[in-house]
């Protein structure tokens, strides 16, 4: 320790004159540096704040001191303490004539204030003046401040000057003026919309730096409105060409590359402009191809440009030649040792799979590697890729992987994201109902409280509605399997509330439906749930309603509902619950148990949760009841407009209409009738028996009402179930619900219906198709073990684990399909594409080789195509493939034509292709070598930087210096000062 102190002292003494700051400041930083705890630091900083407060307020403080105090204040705020008392001094300092003070003032205000701060108004004037200054450094300082501090209201005050500065003689000023204008555009597009043409003008600025700066606003503008800038395609391509041909001054070179940052920006812009625009894209092919051929894989920035090329290629209208080059580049990225390169490779792969799905398959192994990489960033990126390339053939593997990963992460944000992705994929591609339910169970089990409440409702609805429309047995199988799995899961501790709700609802609706489980068993389990989650009112509500359903189904079936003692006590307990909702539910259950079969059947019809409800909005069925009440002396209903202003509480006599006035009074709504009605029949049901005239809707609503829990179900998650509930509530609840609810529920119903039907057909088609193909492929299950291994590793890891948990019979044929695919790929590079597209003239295909395949629309599944080949009886898939390739044919032809057009510059596209390929492979070696060289350095640094004590860190830096690891590579002494 002592030794360290000495070193530190020497250090401090040696470094050029104490950093030009006062002793006080040095002391402050030193003492903060020496603190051992946050408290200690806070104490020091608070003392500093007190000092600064008095010093700054002192009118006799000299200016240079003021400046230092301001910097100390900035430092204090950076450490997280409030420095707002000093803002005004910063503002004052901007008024100073002295450049040093002025700049300090501007720095302080840009760091302290946001653009809506009250003090800004005091600066605008100064900014205006400074923008007119003769000293361009003052102008620059003002422009810096403008970028940060000017808001929509103050833009007009400085706009004319900024526009004027676009023509300033200094290019540094022009550049900053462009940026300022860009900033205005970001902040308030309307205020500068008439000036946007200036950006176009600046594109041809004599200084390439200004041109480069202009690309930033243009990129933004083009993102918002591509079509307005199509005319610039040629200009951008020309600029890019000039850049690549090194026409810019040498000063723009970086790491021997001509203006790579400008290249990247231009490629981004071209990507936007060429997206979905064949004509625009044609202009770009040559130049992008040139860049890819010339790129320098030895430097970081070279790879950045290459990656940007791939992004551009994947965005513009596809060109087979370029796609091939991009695929090559990707494989180089993926083979690199650097995680950064792999990350870019995976990202690029994700972009390219949309256009040519088979590229991802070529890199299966690399992808699997990345999936198992310890680097979380890379892993997440890879999951993103998998998400993009999911289709019905690999959904099981991918989703299982995702779930496995999801279980182990703590970051809730990401967990939510990946959970909803799992659900999305499962809903979209589920191969079977069984699998779907199992998957959903897993997701809910581990992330149930994170996913949208809507998902839970979707699951309930899905199980209730079933997959196959006309196949009732399949539906009931689905339900039984759901019930089975839920009974299995239900005992586990710590299930998320949303999941328990689903479980209770399903058990209530379908627990006894198939007769496998007795009512008392199910009700016992439900009771357990309610007891185990006694703090969760929603779950309890679901459970108790489910109980009610079980009993009513029993009664409706002509049996006696035997209420288990524990259920009875649960209901007893809830009768006295503080939650009115629970209370009501308990009363309902109690009432149901006492009713006869006929009444119960009307209240709780079996499996009717999906039937539509007709809603009598005018509540005409209540007329008789109202009449009666009025005859008995109740006051007639006064509409809301009439009674506004009345102090309504005291006027209450007839509860029925008035309770809707304020929902704070909803308590009474349930309690008052109790006294007037038959003792053990609660009010809701009592009225419902009276309302037999319109039995159907009412009964159904009853079911839904009980199915859907009340307030805590968020509106965002409102599904049809929820909406129907609103329809009911209008009678009892707030008045505002009544009108919108029924209409929305009506609108929703058909839509949802469509969704499921679609899924149904897809799902069943898939599963059928698969079944057939399994059979057909069984004979050739045996393929060389080596290939099988390879194929297994396609999604290898998972398939191993899968075999453990699910039926192996399903998996084997699947692996087989991969290996079949593989073998095709391996035989010849082109065979698979040729084979699939037998309907086309073969010579063209051979000419184009692999690229033909790249034009297959992403929706086509190569596995499917192979299946089609293997078994022609599979009409659904083969038809699909046939249709796809049929429509493809003209496209491919035209593509070929495009190619030869665009390839004019290259003379012979094929030969250049070969050249470039060999060139690229040469580069790749270099890249690898270089990758190693570069890599060890940060590795070392990082490794070493983890050293706990100072000695370690000293040693490490000595080492680092020996290796010459400085940012510049020219200055090995970068950190010498610090470490002596």
């Amino acid at each position: 320790m002592e030794q360290l102190k000495t070193i530190g002292r020497e250090l401090a003494m040696g470094s050029q004159g104490g950093f030009g700051q006062s002793k006080e400041f040095l002391d402050l930083i030193k003492s903060i540096g020496e603190t051992r705890s946050k408290n200690e630091e806070d104490r020091i900083v608070l003392r500093e704040i007190e000092t600064l407060k008095t010093r700054l307020a002192n009118p006799n403080t000299p200016k240079f001191k003021l400046k230092e105090y301001l910097i100390r204040l900035l430092y204090v705020e950076m450490l997280g303490h409030d420095a707002s008392f000093g803002y005004i001094y910063a503002v004052k300092m901007t008024h100073d004539e002295n450049l040093l003070f002025k700049r300090t003032g501007y720095l302080a205000v840009t760091l302290f204030l946001n653009e809506d701060h009250d003090l800004i108004i005091l600066i605008v004037n100064t900014i205006q003046k400074d923008l007119r200054s003769d000293n361009y450094l003052v102008v620059c300082a003002a422009l810096n401040a403008v970028c940060r501090l000017i808001n929509e209201e103050t833009i007009p005050a400085v706009l004319p000057q900024v526009v004027e500065l676009l023509g300033h003689q200094k290019e540094a000023v022009r550049k900053k003026a462009v940026m300022a204008l860009h900033r205005f555009y970001q902040r308030a597009p309307g205020s500068v919309s008439h000036l946007i043409s200036n950006f176009r003008k600046r594109l041809s600025d004599s200084d390439p730096g200004v041109m480069g700066a202009t690309l930033c606003p243009l990129f933004d503008l083009i993102t918002t409105d591509v079509n307005a800038y199509k005319d610039l395609v040629i200009s951008f391509v020309n600029i890019l060409k000039q850049v690549v041909e090194r026409r810019l001054p040498k000063s723009f070179d970086y790491r021997q590359m001509p203006a790579p940052f400008i290249q990247i920006k231009l490629l981004k812009i071209l990507g936007l402009l060429g997206n979905g625009d064949k004509k625009a894209s044609e202009h770009m092919y040559t130049i992008v191809g040139d860049i890819m051929r010339k790129f320098d894989s030895t430097s970081n920035i070279g790879n950045a440009v290459l990656y940007e090329c791939i992004c551009c290629i994947s965005s513009i209208h596809p060109n087979p030649k370029l796609l091939e080059a991009a695929a090559d580049a990707i494989s180089k990225f993926l083979k690199s040792d650097s995680h950064n390169m792999k990350y870019l490779g995976i990202d690029a792969l994700g972009r390219l799979t949309k256009i040519s799905p088979e590229i991802a398959e070529q890199h299966q192994l690399a992808v699997i590697d990345c999936l198992e990489d310890p680097d979380d960033t890379l892993k997440r990126k890879t999951f993103e890729l998998l998400y993009k390339m999911t289709k019905s053939s690999n959904v099981e593997v991918i989703v299982n992987r995702m779930i496995d990963y999801m279980i182990n992460i703590n970051d809730n944000h990401y967990k939510t994201e990946i959970a909803s992705r799992c659900i999305e994929l499962a809903e979209q591609f589920a191969p079977s109902n069984q699998w779907f339910i199992q998957t959903m169970n897993k997701v809910f089990e581990h992330a149930g409280d994170l996913v949208n409440a809507k998902v839970a409702h979707n699951l309930m609805r899905l199980i209730a509605e079933g997959f196959g429309e006309d196949d009732d047995t399949a539906d009931s199988q689905l339900r039984s399997s759901a019930v089975e799995s839920y009974l299995h899961i239900i005992g586990e501790p710590k299930l998320p509330s949303a999941f328990l709700q689903v479980i209770c609802w399903i058990l209530g609706e379908y627990g006894t439906a198939d007769g496998k489980y007795s009512a008392s068993y199910i009700s016992g389990r439900l009771c357990d749930v309610a007891e185990a989650h006694s703090t969760d009112d929603i779950v309890k509500a679901y459970a108790v309603t489910a109980l009610g359903k079980i009993y009513s189904f029993e009664i409706a079936a002509g049996r006696k509902a035997e209420v288990l003692p524990e259920c009875e006590s649960l209901i007893e307990e809830l009768l006295a619950s503080h939650s009115t909702d629970l209370q009501q539910r308990a009363y309902e259950v109690q009432a149901i148990v006492g009713l006869d079969a006929h009444a119960v059947e009307n209240i709780m019809p079996m499996d009717a949760s999906c039937e539509d409800i007709e809603i009598d909005k005018s509540l005409s069925f209540l007329n008789g009841y109202i009449q009666q009440a009025i005859e008995k002396g109740a006051q007639p209903y006064v509409s809301e407009s009439e009674r506004s202003g009345m102090s309504n509480i005291s006027n209450f006599k007839s509860q029925e209409q008035h309770e809707s006035l304020m929902h704070s009074l909803r308590f009474e709504a349930y309690e008052l009738p109790k006294s007037s009605m038959a003792p053990h029949v609660p009010p809701v049901l009592a009225s419902s028996t009276e309302l037999v005239p319109v039995p159907n809707p009412y009964n159904h609503t009853e079911v839904h009402y009980s199915a859907t829990p009340m307030p805590s179900v968020s509106n965002a998650g409102s599904s049809e179930l929820k909406l129907r509930l609103d329809g009911v509530q209008k009678k009892w609840g707030r008045p505002s619900y009544s009108s919108p609810a029924p209409s929305t529920s009506n609108n929703d119903a058909p839509k949802i219906q469509n969704g499921t039907t679609q899924r149904d057909s897809v799902g069943s088609a898939n599963s059928k198709a698969r079944d057939v193909s399994y059979d057909s492929r069984k004979p050739q299950v045996e393929i060389s073990p080596e290939k099988q291994k390879l194929a297994a590793s396609l999604f290898g890891g998972p398939s191993k684990s899968d075999r453990r948990q699910s039926s192996s019979s399903q998996k084997v044929p699947k692996n087989n399909s991969h290996s079949a695919n593989k073998s095709h790929v391996e035989k010849t590079a082109t065979s698979d594409t040729v084979a699939v597209k037998t309907s086309q003239p073969p010579q063209d295909l051979l000419d184009l080789g692999e690229p033909t395949g790249t034009s297959i629309p992403p929706s086509l599944d190569p596995f499917k195509q192979l299946e089609g080949l293997l078994d022609l009886t599979q009409d659904s898939t083969t038809l699909n493939t046939g249709g796809g390739s049929g429509t493809d044919a003209p496209d491919i032809m035209s593509l070929y034509a495009d190619m030869s057009l665009s390839g004019q510059g290259n003379e012979n596209p094929l030969s250049t292709g070969n050249d470039s390929a060999s060139l690229l492979s040469g580069f790749s070696d270099a890249a690898n070598r270089n990758g190693h060289g570069v890599n060890t350095v940060p590795q070392l640094t990082q490794q070493l930087s983890k050293g706990q004590n100072h000695k370690d860190s000293l040693e490490k830096d000595a080492l680092v210096r020996q290796m010459g690891v400085t940012p510049s590579g020219q200055n090995p002494n970068l950190f010498k000062d610090l470490l002596g």
Partner: protein
């Protein structure tokens, strides 16, 4: 666009903080802390990129790199290229090295206003303005010359007992 630039030391103490969208002081601290936590949890020898969409919103990532005792962090959205950001950071550090002739953490601490000046030449309003280190050095030197001409400041030459952190 670039959302922010943070320089902090390996104990999570901020040395330079610049956000291009205003962040209130407490929020800044929170962000710095969360970023520090993320960076600490990163294994060695992994990529320099981290997705931070939970902190900054969709598609926002950061690039970080350690130089001796300092973490340099650039936060940016999808309109920037990760590798290019890494190189920009490199250029930034090179420039610091040139301006301070052998930069160290203390230089950054004591002259963070100067570091801000340098950063302003590179990034303005969240957009990359300049990528050439010698150009920036030239400009900054010009600014410093003007400033010196305008004023001279007392220099305290020693910090006794400094511990080297």
């Amino acid at each position: 666009m670039i959302r922010g630039v943070i320089v902090m030391n390996d104990r999570g103490k901020p040395r330079l903080v610049k956000f291009y969208e205003f962040q209130p002081a407490e929020k800044q601290q929170e962000l710095i802390r969360s970023i520090y936590r993320v960076l600490c949890s990163r294994a060695e020898n992994v990529s320099n990129f981290v997705k931070v969409d939970s902190l900054f919103g969709q598609d926002v990532r950061l690039v970080y790199k350690t130089f001796a005792t300092l973490y340099f962090v650039f936060i940016f959205d999808s309109s920037e290229n990760e590798l290019a950001m890494l190189d920009l950071m490199q250029v930034f550090v090179e420039t610091l090295d040139k301006v301070f002739s052998n930069v160290c953490e203390l230089d950054v601490v004591f002259n963070f206003n100067k570091v801000h000046t340098i950063l302003e030449e590179f990034i303005l309003g969240g957009q990359v303005l300049e990528t050439n280190s010698s150009e920036v050095v030239k400009t900054v030197e010009e600014i410093l010359k003007m400033e010196r001409a305008a004023n001279s400041i007392k220099v305290v030459p020693s910090i006794p007992g400094w511990q080297g952190r």
